[in-house]
């Protein structure tokens, strides 16, 4: 599903590489935690997969495509196969929950009929039935993140990328979000989650990839967060 071969990334005017000769593979349907301190290269890793950045060297395959040779106008096609969730939710404040989720389908040209069918389904999946007409400012953080997950999932991506999805949430709410991500993972969607939350990683017992100064220092099946701090 995702394969990196000797991938390095050096940002302009920086000496230290953000990613340093990373080689790894993530299979279809896996659930992977990406851990490491701030600046260890987690965000760069995610941005490379989305082709928001190009690697300085090395090759990246995502969903059967080699990203270096993927032309710029085909990038939207790649991103349609990847759902993305962020720490800050990134919802549209003047649209309701339903509209926020539908927006992701509208911009890809879905028909009204498809939207009417899919949106309530996915809102129910994330546990927000009855919240469709609310606006983001009428929702708690956890609820907003559920809307964001619904939006990321509504176009049925084969990969879901979550960048610190619980970073702004309290532990109880975080557990709910993790259960939801686990449920999405069980539908066959590959989930990659960057996190600082050791409690969650230890509890879930999924594959853990640890980055330090741009290098993979640990890749464990059913791993734990690892270091305290």
């Amino acid at each position: 599903m995702i394969r990196l071969e000797n991938v390095s990334k050096v940002y302009p005017r920086q000496e230290r590489p953000a990613l340093d000769d990373v080689t790894l593979e993530i299979a279809k349907g896996e659930f992977v935690f990406l851990v490491g301190q701030s600046g260890s290269g987690k965000s760069t890793f995610l941005r490379l997969i989305l082709k928001e950045e190009r690697p300085t060297s090395g090759t990246i395959y995502v969903a059967g495509k080699e990203l270096n040779s993927l032309s710029q106008w085909k990038v939207p096609e790649l991103r349609r196969q990847i759902g993305t969730v962020f720490q800050d939710f990134r919802l549209l404040p003047n649209k309701t929950v339903t509209e926020n989720v539908a927006f992701a389908m509208h911009v890809l040209g879905a028909s009204t009929k498809e939207i009417r069918r899919a949106v309530p389904e996915v809102i129910e999946l994330v546990g927000l039935e009855g919240y469709g007409q609310r606006r983001p400012n009428q929702l708690s953080g956890g609820e907003q993140q559920r809307v964001a997950i619904a939006r990321a999932f509504v176009n049925q991506p084969i990969i879901l990328i979550a960048d610190e999805p619980t970073g702004n949430l309290d532990p109880t709410t975080s557990v709910g979000i993790m259960k939801l991500l686990d449920r999405i993972n069980r539908t066959g969607t590959t989930v990659i989650m960057a996190t600082h939350d050791s409690g969650i990683v230890d509890q879930m017992r999924k594959r853990v990839i640890e980055l330090d100064a741009g290098s993979v220092v640990r890749d464990q099946v059913r791993g734990v967060y690892g270091y305290s701090g």
Binding site: I82, A104, H106
Partner: protein, 300 residues
């Protein structure tokens, strides 16, 4: 549906940016109206040329008692000279018709033109020259007549009415060039304003475009609502500009034409033609300005 979704996004964008949208509409309206005035001035020159060139004549004035030119040194024109001049004029291929105006006819025309003026009291019939009025097949062929008859014994002078009209046309020409130049400059202003408006609109909607990018919307579908905003604003501007030109035409018909009866004015078809050129200009300028701006500020 898809079109309805885009329409609602465009509507939201236009309303959210209302003051700037109004500024774009007004600027486009004024600049296109100025361009339109230039185009109409151009048609006016065309109309006047058509109108006048059919009427203008070359006058071959014959020697009279007051003539002072060297070719009149032999005194007033003789009957034989007059007959041979007339025959030669008719023989010229560029000449369409020739008619003779006697001193009596010239005098009565003079009295008619200056009716009520004291000048008629001081002029007598024999002071006015007799002449041949020559209508040319092509008014531009004046030089042929001029070279054949100027200086010939019995001919005092050869005058082309076109020379007088050309001065008038060049005056309108200056007006036209001025309107076009100012119009073009203000079209440029409108383009810059559209560009800045879209820059602000792109910034205001960075959340939406961010989400669009993430879920994999094509760059075309991300940019389309913005481009449509610029284009729709300039279409409103174009409608106002057309209204202004129509108002100008009505004003000319009702207020100016009754005063200036000696000429014809451009018709409504000229207004519609100018309006369609303005539409093309407005459309091209706004869509090009939009696309260039978005390529810079809406990287996908």
């Amino acid at each position: 549906m898809r079109a309805r979704f885009i329409a609602s996004e465009v509507g939201i964008g236009l309303r959210r940016n209302l003051t700037l949208t109004v500024a774009v509409v007004i600027t486009v309206a004024i600049s296109l109206a100025l361009l339109g005035v230039g185009l109409l001035a151009n048609s006016q020159v065309g109309v006047m040329k058509d109108y006048w060139y059919n009427k203008i004549e070359v006058s071959v004035f014959l020697c009279g008692t007051l003539s002072e030119s060297p070719s009149c040194s032999g005194g007033p024109v003789t009957a034989a000279q007059r007959d041979s001049i007339q025959a030669d004029l008719k023989a010229l291929p560029v000449v369409e018709t020739v008619y003779y105006e006697s001193q009596a006819q010239a005098f009565s025309r003079f009295k008619e033109r200056f009716k009520g003026s004291s000048i008629t009291a001081n002029v007598t019939q024999d002071q006015l020259p007799e002449s041949f009025r020559v209508k040319l097949k092509d008014p531009k062929q004046f030089a042929v007549v001029q070279s054949a008859f100027a200086g010939r014994p019995g001919v005092d002078s050869v005058q082309d009415q076109r020379a007088v009209l050309e001065k008038f046309f060049s005056l309108i020409g200056v007006l036209r060039d001025g309107a076009l130049a100012i119009g073009l400059i203000s079209v440029l202003t409108a383009a810059l304003l559209i560009s800045n408006t879209l820059r602000i609109a792109a910034f205001n909607r960075r959340r939406e475009t961010g989400v669009m990018r993430l879920v994999g919307a094509s760059s075309f579908s991300i940019q389309l609502p913005f481009i449509l905003e610029g284009v729709i604003a300039s279409i409103f501007g174009w409608m106002i500009a057309t209204g202004l030109l129509a108002a100008l035409k009505t004003l000319i018909d009702h207020r100016v034409a009754p005063l200036l009866t000696f000429t014809k004015f451009f018709g409504w078809p000229a207004v519609w033609q100018a309006s369609s050129y303005l539409f093309i200009t407005g459309f091209l300028v706004s869509s090009i300005a939009s696309m260039l701006t978005l390529r810079k500020y809406l990287r996908v």
